[in-house]
Symmetry: C2
Subunit: 212 residues, 2 copies
Amino acid sequence: MNTAPSTRTQVKRIARNASYDPALLHAIVDAAYVCHIAFADAHGTHCIPTACWRSGDYLYIHGSNGSRMLQRLTEQDCCVTITHVDGLVLARSAFNHSMNYRSAMVYGRFEVVAEDAKRQTLADFMEHLAPGRQAEIRPGNDKEFAATTVMRIALLEAACKVRTGPPDDDEEDMHIAAWAGVLPLAQARGTPVPDAHCAVAAPAYVKDWATS
Amino acid sequence: MNTAPSTRTQVKRIARNASYDPALLHAIVDAAYVCHIAFADAHGTHCIPTACWRSGDYLYIHGSNGSRMLQRLTEQDCCVTITHVDGLVLARSAFNHSMNYRSAMVYGRFEVVAEDAKRQTLADFMEHLAPGRQAEIRPGNDKEFAATTVMRIALLEAACKVRTGPPDDDEEDMHIAAWAGVLPLAQARGTPVPDAHCAVAAPAYVKDWATS
């Protein structure tokens, strides 16, 4: 990650919340299952959600070879954004209400992951989601790999923006008799739901899902 | 919402998951605190997260008058996307792994909400977040309202895409001895955190936050 911002990653709004720390960027990406990607074509500008994962200094996505988005992303720069909403911030004045959040924006051009690296890259994705599962399932066959494109974008031209903590009220509003504080939000894991035909005992990544 | 898709809202990938049902669109928007907006300027295509709410057949956003995004959004069509990740879908083959999700994409042009409607619109937003709170806090003053732009986009040219339920394995993979099912994900509410200087008893929308 470039620790000096580019024209595109220089945060202007509430710049005190901006960060160009690679460790923070990696943590925000690693906490996400999905990113949103903005790109353009003859029909306009599009914002499409897709699964993502990180390996080293790259963010990866995958999809069908026929995907319009994947085709366009080799031809143009795009913007990849990840946002985690962490809470509603209730201040004593309407104007100072806010949200706590962690967000990351990455600019650049995706590149197609070469055939000889594709299988390992997808295995890395599985390992990230469910450690050990790759050895339990039927791996992809030649036809399935041939139908799948994997792409990556460098986590280089990027910016993070984070808000945490209590409301930031104006001094003259501190006497207002309104409850003030944070209503937390978080992504939570629920109890695993086995398939109706599943007779296999739950492995560790399933048993520990809701509590880890 | 147009129940017949446009060129931009005709879902092509896994079209069986597409829906043009306005009630579903409204439910997806109402469950969101944040949307992602794709738009373009001289520096490229951008994907920016921002708070959103719905009133009737419009999605609303707000921000500072000086916001680059708000300025651009009056000049061009954009794409607004909301995504809720509901779970990881673990199939018996690597290829059939998926995610459960609810997503909505809206295309069109934002319009600025006129001055005489702005205050009520922002009060609606507060009522949506914390019913009854608007009467407890210091309302916006003229200077604060003058610094704030509220915009809306019609929920007209839109598409939803939803996946629910168990994995969809190929018949020939059903003998594979791998756990199969869904690892659920959901947005959860945590215990409210009062501001250090808050001596006001928690109102209903705070007391009931984590359990409602």
